[in-house]
Symmetry: C2
Subunit: 494 residues, 2 copies
């Protein structure tokens, strides 16, 4: 393990983070509606500490780096997200009101991983600058703070292939070494364009610039933080509330299918679109789930089917895209609807998007593979070719995907057990144990039980909060980049 | 598909089943305590109908069979269990009291698959002959009605390799074609010896012959039917109640590790025992879970640790072995204990035993495989050899096992959703939806929620009961032998 490389790159990452913090501090100074004098200070103090630590690390790692080896790349990805989370929590601790350290870590990690679970019991009592920082962490985390970083690194001439390979959202056949920088830049351009469009639409529908930016940042990153206690439900009573919800649902959808779709559309390479299966299936799953749930809701609440469909659609898209915005309390829905939501949480969005979860393409590969296995019972020697999204998958690649899926399920079960043991003394129920895991590992935000859409995570013990932070990062980096940090031989000198 | 072969062999299977039914009828006649005159009739009528249908099928399939091809073998296994279940339900329908057809099917399938879920609300009100038939179905289903059948077939000179391969419990490296008959016979000898030992012990502890036989039959088959409403809890107040529980737990344990262990011990091939990992791990898992749960129980109920351990041990072994006997109501235990039980249900016993579930060896293979995948993140070209139970597993075999595990988890989720939809109108909760699936698919018996250890399955709708029958058979045959029946090309003429 070459610690000089780690120090240099992780230091640079922290310096970048401190800049984002400082920008939020400046916003607080110029914000005409700021209602707390202390918030710019906490953001600037946070930025200062982060910059100082980052600077010292860069000095420790000084020297020219030609290439980041695979091992160091793996560690940088995992440690990068952990460090961003830790330092991103400073503004929550340093200001007034302030949080205990475990809460601040939770809120910060929940931001960067675009989970959107919160420990704030009264969100609206917090300074606007802090809430803006909260949204900014999600927007940065959305496409991966490291993509920006990779793009910068490649300008500096540092080989960053190993970083890119471990940054989960981009393990697609589309990205080749030579095109990493171009692709990263295209992705960011698309991301910024989509965000801008979302902001303008919300502003046009009557939101203030502050609220439009906050919700756009957390919708396109599928993060789900909202500056309102009632989340998007804040706008339910507005005359055009349904339009605001629909507009947001479009952007959540757009950002939970592969961003390469938008890059391809911008570049007018229409032919590539034909082979795209995942986004098509994802839209169908959302539509089907919404109709199925709306049917039960209309029956249960004896409300109009259209009204039921409005709520079902928003919640289904919000959950399936792993955003976690709320309008209604889905916990009072019939249990089959809750199970659908639970499965959608587990599944998550499409690969190559800002969404979390298992990713639909993995389910598609798994279902095809399982069918082959069944047929093998009477045709043991048949060879089964497979294509997903236009890419051929050999048996080795399929098996890797199925192993991932099994490991993901296994971690859900074991984590639910661990939650039950950690919170044993508080008399936690099974639903909350599982709900907290499904809220955090797939980066959803709200869960079930005592962490449902009308609750928050404040009531957990500090140890539980730290455990949930681990789950959020584990899910965001799709397991391996975190699990590998626990393998002793990774850290061996060589 | 050669339907002549199907008819002949499935017909013979039904004739054998009718014999077992007739034996229970004879028991009713000679039973001094019989309290219902109608029970021998229902058993004899059932036997008559089953024998008649079986006889007609055998006549339809008349002619010499030299070899059972793979396709036909697959169908015989799946259809054999379905038909046994259907005809095994006749005695419940034909007598007085009687059950509706869906209930009778459920009770019968629950017997043959050694699940042990019941629709009887007051077990003790049923005739002793019917309850004996209920225990006999589990004992026969325990080691697989088909193993007996295979042994008979091999005497008749019919190649039955393809049957054996699809009979889940024996897909081990140990069994070679040439030794199928010997192995099947050894297994049955061991099974009968263990059963006899269990009966004698229970008799010695004060049970009547009837109760000793009933409980021994359902303990060694890890079935879990009991003729008492309170299950094994019936003996809790006895002075030697703890001894009866402990004795039963030993037999449940012995029958949820691979039977090949006992064959090997009988044949004094000690060296083979060294490489046996699964049983060792299984015992450790049971011990660890029991201690962990006892800790919480002692704390919760402020009862002695020894008393807590007695209950925790019995329930853990009863669940982990997929037997499902009950002594205490585990649903009042702390939620982490329930999650442990849920995971044990899912996991089940060891391969090559009478137990159901995923099987521990699959988890072992999966965990080793997952660790290799993590290490591959920084050592992509390393080759990882793997041994389990002394057998080498190539990457292909490992991947098959992981696919099975993922498919099993997927079926659990989808079935819970389907349960929620089937029982939507009754307002079923999430816990019951999942609990009913975990009770039936891994052949446990009791579940969670409205199908917990103090409840039964009578309150479900007929369609739900039939769906649960499918899950029981699916789990018992380890998925493929049932799923394959839904592949249209299997049935093609060739
Ligand atoms: K989220
Ligand atoms: K059972």
């Amino acid at each position: 393990m070459n610690f000089r490389i780690l120090a240099k790159i992780l230091g640079a990452l922290l310096v970048l983070e401190s800049l984002a913090m400082a920008v939020c501090g400046i916003f607080t100074i110029i914000d005409p509606l700021r209602h707390s004098e202390s918030s710019p200070q906490s953001l600037f103090y946070g930025a200062l500490i982060t910059a100082a630590v980052g600077g010292v690390m860069m000095v420790l790692g000084i020297g020219k780096i030609h290439k980041i080896p695979r091992r160091e790349g793996v560690v940088i990805v995992g440690m990068g997200w952990i460090l961003s989370g830790v330092f991103g929590g400073l503004p929550y601790v340093l200001g007034e009101p302030s949080m205990p350290p475990a809460d601040a870590l939770f809120e910060s990690v929940s931001g960067f991983t675009t989970t959107g679970s919160t420990v704030m019991t009264d969100i609206e009592s917090w300074p606007r600058g802090i809430l803006m920082w909260r949204s900014v962490t999600q927007w940065l985390g959305g496409l991966g703070i490291l993509v920006l970083f990779v793009a910068l690194l490649s300008y500096l001439g540092v080989g960053s292939k190993s970083l890119f390979r471990n940054e989960s959202s981009f393990q697609t056949g589309e990205v080749s070494t030579a095109r990493i920088r171009d692709t990263a830049l295209s992705l960011w351009k698309v991301y910024i364009s989509i965000t801008t469009l979302c902001i303008l639409g919300l502003k046009f529908m009557g939101l203030t610039w502050y609220n439009a930016i906050s919700h756009a940042f957390t919708a396109v990153s599928t993060g789900g933080f909202s500056p309102h206690n009632a989340s998007v439900g804040h706008y339910s009573d507005w005359g055009n509330g349904w339009l605001i919800e629909f507009w947001l649902s479009l952007f959540m959808l757009a950002c939970s299918v592969s961003f390469l779709i938008w890059v391809v559309i911008v570049k007018k390479r229409w032919k590539r679109l034909k082979s795209e299966e995942e986004g098509k299936w994802f839209s169908l799953v959302c539509l089907g789930s919404a109709f199925l749930i709306a049917f039960g809701l209309a029956h249960q609440n004896s409300e109009g089917y259209l009204e039921a469909l409005r709520h079902a659609w928003f919640i289904v898209v919000s959950i399936a895209s792993t955003t976690g915005f709320g309008t209604v309390d889905y916990e009072v829905w019939p249990s089959y609807a809750l199970i659908i939501l639970g499965i959608l949480m587990f599944l998550g969005g499409c690969s190559g998007s800002t969404a979390g979860g298992l990713k639909l393409s993995r389910l598609i590969v798994f279902l095809k593979t399982a069918r082959f296995e069944v047929v093998k019972a009477f045709r043991p020697n048949k060879v089964f070719p497979m294509q997903v999204n236009g890419n051929s998958l050999d048996p080795d690649a399929r098996s890797q995907i199925v192993i991932f899926m099994a490991l993901y399920s296994f971690i859900v079960m074991i984590s639910a057990l661990f939650m039950g043991m950690l919170e044993y003394s508080t008399g936690i129920d099974m639903e909350t144990s599982l709900g907290a895991v499904l809220a955090t590992l797939p980066n959803i935000g709200p869960g079930f039980g005592a962490v449902g859409p009308t609750d928050n995570f404040a009531h957990f013990m500090p140890a539980t909060k730290i455990f949930l932070c681990l789950l959020m990062i584990l899910g965001r980096l799709e397991l391996y980049a975190v699990l590998v940090l626990f393998i002793p031989s990774l850290w061996r000198k060589y």
